[in-house]
Structures are given as C-alpha cells and as structure tokens.
Symmetry: C2
C-alpha cells in the first residue's frame, strides 16, 4: 500500500477539515536508523531520526505541507517567506505542488546562490532587499498582514502542527514507546517545541505512558537561550541554527523544563567532529546543524549524564547534500595521484591502509 | 514498527543466507508520488518513483547494500570501485556502516571535487590515476581478481539483485499490480535490467498477473543501444547516464523486447525541460539524468503512443541536490534587488506576477 503523506496519515491529530486538500510530496515516513557502531561505543541504544530524507532534504517539509494546505483551504494563491535556506526550499516545493505562487525575500548580502538553487528550480520568485534578514522578515509580516498573501515563516501556527508528527513517527518506530532522551539541534527552537507537543499529545491520548527528556543543543556562537539573552551577531558553521533570537524561545524552555531535560550548547569544533563521525562510522551524511544533536549526546556522555543502556534518539534535521562545500572543506579531499598501472594503485592502497592504522 | 531495510524486508527474494549480515541504512521504501498536475495534462495516471530519497541520494543504495553485505559475509575487509559519482557515494556509505575500507579509483582529469564530497566524507580513500575512466575500471578488475578486495562496480552480480527490489515496491505501492509502463533512464543499463528481473520474479511467483512495458531512455549524446554501437566519446548534461558502452546492454535490450517496450532516446534539451517541469509543476527535484524518464514519456505522448488513462511509473534515479550547479545554470537565478520598504517589495511582487501571466 502506498504511504499517503503526513496530512492523510495523521489527520486525526492535525487541524484538518473536510475542505483541507490532501497535499503531499510524501513527506515524513523518514528512517529511524539505529547507530549500530556508536551504540556499542557509547553504551547507549542510539538512533538517528534522519529527516534529511524528506522530499526537499529537511524536516521543514513537515510543517510546510500543513501550512500550504491550510493556505489553499483559505483560498490563498500566494505564499511568502523570508529565508535563504531550508524554509524557502520547502515553501517553493509545496507551492509548486499546490499551484500557488511563492515569494522568497532575502537580504542582499552574501547571497549564496547554491542555497537558493532549490527554491528557484521549484519556481519561487526571489526578491533581495537592501537590508538584513530581520528587516526582510519584518516586511514579510507587514505585507502578509495587509495583502491576500500567506506568511509561511515559522510564526505560521500550522508549521508546528505539521512538525509534531515526527514525534508520532519516532514512537511508532520504537514500537509504541517514547525514547528516554530526544536530542535535537536548537536554532529558531520551533522543532524542539513541535516534538514536545507531539509527545505530550500522544501521552494525553494514552498512546504512551512515559515522556522523553528533551535535550536541545544550540551552537556556541548562537546560544541565546543558554545565555538568557538574544545574540546580536550569531555566528556558527551550522548555518541552519545560526539564529540569535529564537522565535520559539519560551516553548523550547518549557519543553526542556517540563520534560526534565535541558537546553545546552556545543562548539563548532564539536559539531564538525560529530558531523564527520556519523558519516565515517555510520554512513550517514547530515548537514552540519544536524550534527549538533549527536555532538550534544557526546557531551552529555563525557559529563557522565547517562547510566548506560538508555534509548536516545538524535534528530538529524537535514541532508548533508544541502551543504556539500562544508564536506569538502572539512576532510582531506585531494586524492593521491598515481600512474595507471595495477602496481602503482596497489602501492597507493597499501600506503593508505598503513596510514589508517 | 520500524522499517528494517531492503535485505530484511525482501530476504526471500534475495541471495541471503544465515550468515548474511542484515546491513542497512534503511535504503528503499522510497515514495511513489502521483504526478497530480501532469497526470491531468497528459491524460495519464502518472507516478514518480522518487529514488533520490535513498540514504545517499540515489538508487545505487539498493544494489550496494546487497553487494557490501555479501562482501562482509565472504570475509572481505575492503571494497573497491571506479566511479566519480553516485556509485562511489553508495559504496563509501555502506563500507562505513559495515566497518570496511573503501577504495575509489578515478581518472585524474576534470575531477569535480563536489561529486566526490560524499565518498570522502563517508571515509573512502580516493586514488586518481593518470588514465581515463575505462582504464580505472580495468585496474579495479585486475586488482580485485588477484587480491582479497571486493569489486563493487555494476559487474558485481549482487548489485542487480538489490536493485530489483524497487520493482517489488512499485507493485506494493500500486496495491498489488504492475503499472502499464515503467519509464526509466538508461545509462549503464543495469537499472532497467534490474526492474525487469524484479517484475518477472513477482510474475513467476504469481504475485502479479500482468507485466509492464519497459520503456528506457538514453541521452542522445550517449545512445549506444539506440544506435546499435558503442559511443567513443559520450556527451550529455545528464552525467549519471553519460555512458558509451553500457555494461548491461544485452539484458536491457531483452527487457525492452520481452516486455514489448522499447529503448529510445531524448535530447539534452528535452531532459532539461523535463527537469524544470517536474520541479516547477510537481515540486520534485531530481538530478538531470532522472528527468530522462519523464522526458521520454512526454516524447511518447507527442508521438501518440498512449491511448489515455494508462498507469505510467517514471523512475527518478537521484536527488536534485546531487548536482545543484545545473539547477542554478538552468534557471534565472539572479534575484531582483529592491529597497527595504513594503512598497518596493510589493511593486516587485506585482511586477513578477505580471511577468508570469
């Protein structure tokens, strides 16, 4: 039987009416991959929720399908967001699918066209303003408040509704129980809020009896929640969580407190280490921001926070192919060059194997 | 319940013994997305088998998980392939997961490091030879014949076994029937051979009563099978099918003949058109080679080959994020730049909407 997407699958838990279109690119239904090698080393029962295998390559598809379906239900023909990354890709894809226009507003500085390639190929119209990202978001809010254009940035309440379905899947994939810990990168803080909402709803419906501890990790250069104040100029290699004033700050703190978890931070060095570790030890390529979750688990392990044997799910928010340049920069990418003879190649192999030992 | 990957799911149909490790990155289980908009326009019941949502971003994961699992079963500790693209990424990922070494041999000309980023981040050792791709493959064959190193290029017979599972999924997703047509890009021709093998096995087991017509599409600049002779210098924008002498030539021709289908070709222009069409109309971003399948269906439609209402499955072999530069080049990517005022942005929106009409 064909999987029919998030809205159809979880409609009882979502703001779906008779008039909500069953829009889908078959988002969700993403793998929960057991970290076979790292579980042994860490003495944990460790899993990755690999959200990079959503249609546009990130978890944003979950919230966006819901936001765009509701926009269609309400008769909107144009959606709009301020974004230079995963949000714009998801918005543009679902707008294309639903036959809507999609306007993406970006600041006219350091525009990496590669990051926008997805939005553009899906047919979004990109407008750059002579101003920064915050100003772009302000203008999006102003315009969508006055004109029949739907805002699909994370302040759109349907985004969180769609995103919470990831918690439903985790429980289903663990045969009906929640993990002991849910580790997750924290940028704008919507995703930790959404997972917690999802787990609590399952609990309220009697579907699970135990709730997970929510442990969220900001990047050190953008750790507004950890510091307790907004960061004016956030900086981290993990661009998807480079956010100085998280929109879902309060709900993220509530998730950590209510679940007896925590909001902590990891350094860029720890993020890059974890990023390479999961690729080279588990065969999983995730974008740098994703690796904040596993970097955080490694940190908690070092600090002796685990007893041993706990089930820990690390959310990997986006696919590594979203940012291939980081991969090239972070490893020795230049190949050895040798003659085209069997002997020369065998010598090179022996050399490499020797170096690896 | 957690999906457990190809080998576990389809072990009755695969060369699996008690000693075969249940290696998996949860490859397979990829979406079959209905082309809602294009189905209406073309008068077909059109679907995309979206293989770009495999763990490393292409269908190669299906064959590679089987090849690497068998290498492990046979006690091998090193695998090797000649590849600059999707094959090396898949080989490296499963080697990492299984704890094997992975050697990738490439020609030392026009190396696009971006294409190798994946293999390298998964920990593969890359060796470049002063020779072309054919020579690299020859050396891989020589070395793996003499040394305890396993060849995982497409001549490894387990690759086709793993790949045939995509046909099983298509039938399952169509509630137990095969489509009328299976449209697929043809490069090395292993994939069309694998799908046909899969459908025939289901038929032999009485799981389906009707077989699909297999329609394969080469790129015009690499249409060895269509021409009936190898192409010395194949050239096409669809690099994943830029192959002048397909390894699975005979089985591909047999698949087309036995199924009353055909091997045909599409131009680069048709490929790029289809590539942009499925992104902008259906919200699906696939690598250019993938678009050969839908370009081929559009060609057959123009030629009056369909009666109307047929169920057609187009295989999309890899994710668009594999080759973002093509996306940037193929669309007008430069954004409009305006002042940071609501009015300036609204004027730009009206201008874009006017241009779109």
């Amino acid at each position: 039987m064909r999987y029919l997407g998030l809205i159809e699958t979880y409609k009882e838990y979502l703001p779906v009416t008779d008039k909500t279109p069953m829009l889908t690119l078959q988002e969700g239904n993403t793998p929960l991959v057991r970290a076979e090698n790292l579980s042994k080393e860490l003495g944990l029962n460790l899993f990755f929720k690999y959200e990079g295998l959503n249609p546009t390559g990130s978890f944003k598809d979950r919230g966006m399908v819901m936001a765009v379906a509701k926009a269609m239900e309400e008769g909107s023909t144009t959606i709009m967001c301020a974004s230079t990354g995963n949000t714009s890709a998801a918005a543009a894809a679902y707008a294309a699918r639903g036959g809507l226009n999609c306007i993406v507003l970006i600041p006219n500085n350091n525009i990496a066209l590669g990051k926008l390639a997805q939005a553009v190929i899906y047919g979004a119209k990109v407008i750059a303003i002579n101003g920064n990202f915050d100003r772009a978001l302000e203008i999006v809010r102003e315009i969508t408040a006055k004109h029949p254009i739907t805002l699909v940035n994370s302040v759109n309440p349907y985004r969180i509704e769609g995103q919470k379905t990831a918690a439903f899947e985790v429980v289903d994939q663990l045969d009906g129980v929640a993990p002991d810990y849910l580790a997750i990168p924290v940028g704008n803080a919507g995703n930790i809020s959404a997972y917690w909402k999802g787990f609590k709803e399952l609990h309220a419906h009697g579907r699970i009896t135990k709730l997970p501890k929510m442990v969220g990790f900001e990047a050190e250069g953008a750790m507004a929640i950890v510091k307790g104040e907004p960061i004016a100029e956030p900086e981290t290699i993990a661009t998807a969580i480079r956010i100085g004033n998280p929109a879902s700050w309060k709900t993220a703190v509530a998730a950590a407190e209510e679940s007896e978890g925590q909001i902590n931070y990891v350094t860029d060095e720890e993020i890059l280490h974890a990023y390479k570790l999961i690729a080279s030890r588990e065969g999983i390529f995730a974008e740098p921001a994703s690796a904040a979750s596993i970097a955080g688990v490694l940190k908690l392990k070092r600090e002796g926070k685990f007893q041993g044997g706990e089930t820990v799910v690390c959310v990997l928010t986006g696919h590594g192919l979203k940012d291939p340049n980081i991969a090239i920069k972070s490893v020795q990418a230049e190949p050895i060059v040798v003659d085209d003879t069997e002997e020369a190649v065998m010598n090179a192999i022996r050399q490499l194997e020797g170096a690896a030992q």
